[in-house]
Symmetry: C2
Subunit: 147 residues, 2 copies
DNA sequence: AATGTTTGATTGATATGCCAAACTTTTCAT
DNA sequence: ATGAAAAGTTTGGCATATCAATCAAACATT
């Protein structure tokens, strides 16, 4: 792709789609099932919006619906959910612990970018945070930032 | 706002809008003027799309058109452009110099997130990068007190 | 049984943002 | 001045993403 700025649209997952998938995972973890209505309530959108949005995710094979309309993630959906959750967590940790960003703002920024961060950046951010922990145990070393 | 994930939609600037504004700034810096066609060519979209998109930015007061249809940024537009450019640069520097992310991937990640990073995060990321520089030059490391 | 209520899902309307194509206006060269 | 090229707008189509309104079915209530 020549136009870097268009990569935003080329993303394999929109922000909305990412949160629909996360909702299904969280609902199933919490109460064992997820229907269209549950997703809608979880995201605080109408059941109509959820219905349409989930339909397109079903057609992409990220969500599977059983005969009683209960939803679950396909293996691909699970993989995407896992990646998104991990990236959000990494970025949130970096923002709060390394930069000293407030909890609320870090939550927002991490949520906005969770689905946009590349695998390479996620990998290297993880490595950076691990190194930082090691340096903490060795108290003489490298103050990184003033909070 | 109760729903953190909806902040994405509430952003004052879409990715597309940010790049239309940046295009005008860059074109005027490079060649002194920017017309609809120039913006379209710069972004590699059709003049039709550019025309429509720029019209909405005009109506929002971010772009001003003179009597010969030459475009420029309003003071608000300039402020937004400046903020976006700064955030992209900060994040790009962090990705490449601190994390060691490849130039190409850092460019993409920074571009995707430039318009989404909060002022607080930008401020603290800047501070972090400054400290990192200081620590490099002077290994005894006096972290300056934060604001 | 009849009526009402809650729950679940779909359909229709609106808004962004892209493209292609048709059309108008402006500019410029001869 | 005229005709072609360049610039700009409009229209129609597609995809995403939202909500309001509606339909359908299950569940109460009397």
């Amino acid at each position: 792709m020549l136009d870097v700025w268009k990569q935003f649209e080329e993303n394999n997952l929109t922000h909305s789609a990412a949160h629909h998938i996360l909702a299904i995972q969280e609902l199933r973890d919490q109460r064992g099932y997820a229907r269209v209505t549950d997703v809608a309530r979880h995201l605080n959108i109408t059941t109509g919006s959820a219905s349409t949005n989930l339909k397109s995710l079903k057609s992409k094979g990220l969500i599977i619906e059983d005969e009683n309309r209960f939803l679950q993630l396909s293996p691909e959906g699970q993989a995407l959910a896992k990646a998104v959750v991990q990236r959000k967590q990494l970025f949130f940790t970096f923002l709060t612990e390394t930069l000293g960003v407030s909890h609320d703002q870090a939550e927002i920024d991490a949520c906005k970018t969770e689905h946009l961060i590349s695998a390479e950046t996620a990998r290297k951010l993880e490595k950076f945070l691990n190194n930082k922990d090691n340096n903490h145990k060795d108290s003489s070393a490298h103050p990184k930032v003033a909070a």
